[in-house]
């Protein structure tokens, strides 16, 4: 952490603090709608961090993070609805379950030297397999879904993660901030450097005595655990869970867009990506409504075109480019 802080120019420091301050004070002027958009920004920044650890740092492409998200969401929500175990406790049961799933997939894949596209396919296969399984799991409502009681303004129960938008706003902000600090710290840690070595050249990394398998498993452990926490937030924020939505490959894809657009393997990439992508989609919806267009496909088409343009022009993501132009890093960087 201190390393990242030291390597940031005074402009960068000022910008980071200003941004945090703006987000902390935003609820004073923001209306419910703007708050809901910002909640999504933080949520995607946080999940982007989680995925970025595995792909950006350890270099292993997962297209099945919906699995850990869904396991986290379903575990905490089911514990609450079925056994009355609250989410603050439930999250500590959700984490080991998702982490175990992640470690199992990692073990299965990396033991047998399954990497790249093959590993990505393996992660998709497990997520889809689980989705269909939950579609038929009666105890969690199968395909009919799992529901939490509707959240009235009055029913502010922060200890059960029930309450108004403010609760979720600050919770999401806390998640995103904690995620950023954790990633920044890991990036500068010995483990972080091992990940980068393994990502850049596995053979050379092995030659200098790094246990590749272990480094990757550590990345998976942290990534899946973080994603599970995001899943608990998802479950209690949306208050309804359908296997076809939570475990869907669309979920896996949507949570990897922010880090890729923002900049893979960077600490601030997922944040920048989430800040760019989420409002983009929302603005588009508003714009189309004001123009009287009611075609849901148009928004997604614009989204798809944007993705294609950004990946064609800035394949390393927006953050490295931004940092260079705004001189946010120290000149030596």
């Amino acid at each position: 952490m201190s390393g990242i802080w030291f390597n940031t120019s005074w402009r960068g420091k000022a910008l980071a603090l200003a941004l945090l301050l703006v987000f902390l004070l935003a609820p004073v002027i923001a209306d419910r709608y703007l708050l809901s958009v910002l909640i999504l920004v933080f949520y995607f920044a946080y999940l982007g961090h989680a995925w970025n650890l595995l792909m950006g740092f350890a270099g292993q492409l997962s297209l099945g993070h919906a699995l850990y998200l869904g396991l986290g969401a379903y575990t905490a929500t089911a514990l609450w609805t079925l056994f009355g175990v609250g989410p603050w406790l439930g999250v500590f049961i959700a984490i080991p379950i998702a982490a175990a799933a992640g470690l199992f997939i990692g073990w299965l894949g990396w033991r047998f030297a399954i990497e790249g596209v093959y590993f990505a396919l393996l992660t998709i296969a497990f997520a889809e397999f689980t989705r269909i399984g939950f579609d038929h799991l009666q105890i969690t409502g199968a395909a009919g879904g799992l529901f939490l009681p509707v959240n009235g303004e009055a029913a502010g129960e922060w200890w059960n993660l029930g309450g108004g938008p403010l609760l979720y706003y600050y919770l999401a902000l806390a998640l995103a901030t904690a995620g950023t600090l954790l990633v920044a710290r890991l990036r500068q840690s010995p483990l972080g450097y091992r990940w980068l070595a393994v990502r850049e050249d596995p053979q050379a990394a092995q030659a200098v005595g790094i246990n590749i398998f272990r480094a990757r498993m550590m990345a998976m452990l942290i990534s899946a655990s973080m994603t599970a926490v995001g899943g608990v937030f998802y479950g209690f924020y949306y208050r309804n869970l359908f296997p076809s939505q939570v475990f869907d490959i669309g979920r896996s894809i949507e949570l990897i867009l922010a880090p890729i657009i923002g900049g893979l393997g960077t600490v601030f990439g997922p944040i920048v990506g989430a800040i760019i992508l989420t409002p983009l989609g929302e603005t588009l919806t508003g714009l189309m409504q004001s123009l009287g267009l009611n075609a849901p496909g148009v928004k997604a088409i614009f989204y798809g075109v944007t993705l294609m343009i950004i990946i064609s022009l800035q394949p390393n993501g927006v953050w490295p480019w931004l940092a260079r132009h705004l001189r946010l890093n120290r000149p030596s960087e």
């Binding site: 299965l108 399984g133 579609d135 038929h136 993705l307 990946i311 394949p315």
Partner: protein, 288 residues
């Protein structure tokens, strides 16, 4: 019991051949260029809609428009490779992935805008006819579709084995540097390859339209299906794609009949996981 099982297996086998043709397109594209075409299912569904529109407007049988659609898809693939995809050859997988996911999103939502979310069946005069072969009843459309798929696949296999262009493309796949050194126009060959991959998709989608109703929601499922089949069969192995297709077709049919239709793809994914773990190079793959 055995007669029913046999029926189910054979129906699955016939459908599986069409799956196999679709996967063949993916296998060719990935095997030669190492580009992960995550818009594969989307293109398949575009072909299904093309067959649907030609049938509704001009009353043309999908089997008649099979080759024209495949030819048009060849052109689309050729142009796509030349313009959009070529800069991404050799780039990181996640970059290709984002590009093609973007393309897939555009295609699916374009279809949604134009045709809406409803499933569009092609009601042929012989849609419900079947042949009685011994104890089995074979749907006429499935038999035709399977024959069509086999014919196109065979044509492609012969093309790669015996024509100069086909041999040159295989050379690019085996040794890119070597191919460039002896003066092969790699860019051109890649464009032809992507065109051929999409021609497979065009043909497979047209055939698929006779046995399944076209709908935008199929696209993603088909993309996953194609990848599953290719990995099971073995990347880069054309015969493997067909065998993988048959395996998945049969497993889907059996699971759909004996367990539950909504759980059929669970068995495909289980099969994929088993193959990836026990034999990552796929059933017919040579090496990883």
């Amino acid at each position: 019991m055995t007669a029913i099982t046999l029926n189910v297996i054979v129906q699955g086998l016939l459908t599986g051949l069409v799956y196999g043709l679709m996967a063949l397109g993916l296998s060719v594209i990935f095997g030669v260029m190492r580009v992960v075409n995550f818009a594969h299912g989307e293109f398949t569904v575009v072909a299904m809609y093309a067959a649907f529109v030609l049938f509704e407007v001009l009353h043309l049988d999908p089997l008649i428009v099979l080759l024209p659609i495949a030819a048009v898809f060849f052109g689309i693939g050729y142009l796509l490779q030349r313009t959009l995809i070529n800069p991404f050859v050799g780039r990181a997988e996640h970059e290709q992935f984002i590009l093609l996911v973007g393309l897939a999103t555009v295609i699916v939502n374009g279809l949604l805008l134009v045709f809406g979310p409803d499933a569009r069946p092609i009601n042929l005069s012989y849609s419900f006819d079947s042949y009685a072969v011994g104890p089995m009843f074979l749907d006429k459309v499935r038999v035709f579709a399977a024959i069509g798929a086999l014919a196109v696949a065979a044509a492609l296999l012969l093309f790669f084995r015996y024509t100069r262009t086909g041999t040159a493309i295989r050379a690019c796949a085996d040794n890119l540097t070597g191919a460039a050194v002896i003066g092969l126009d790699v860019k051109q060959l890649y464009a032809v390859t992507f065109g051929l991959g999409l021609a497979c998709v065009g043909a497979a989608g047209t055939l698929m339209a006779t046995i399944a109703d076209a709908s935008p929601s199929l696209a993603q499922a088909y993309t996953l299906l194609a990848f599953t089949i290719v990995i099971i069969g073995g990347l880069g192995s054309m015969v493997g794609a067909l065998i993988g297709g048959i395996l998945i077709g049969v497993s889907e049919a059996l699971a759909g009949f004996y367990i539950q239709p909504s759980m059929k793809s669970m068995f495909s994914f289980a099969l994929l996981i088993i193959v990836l773990v026990l034999r990552p190079q796929g059933l017919m793959g040579r090496r990883l």
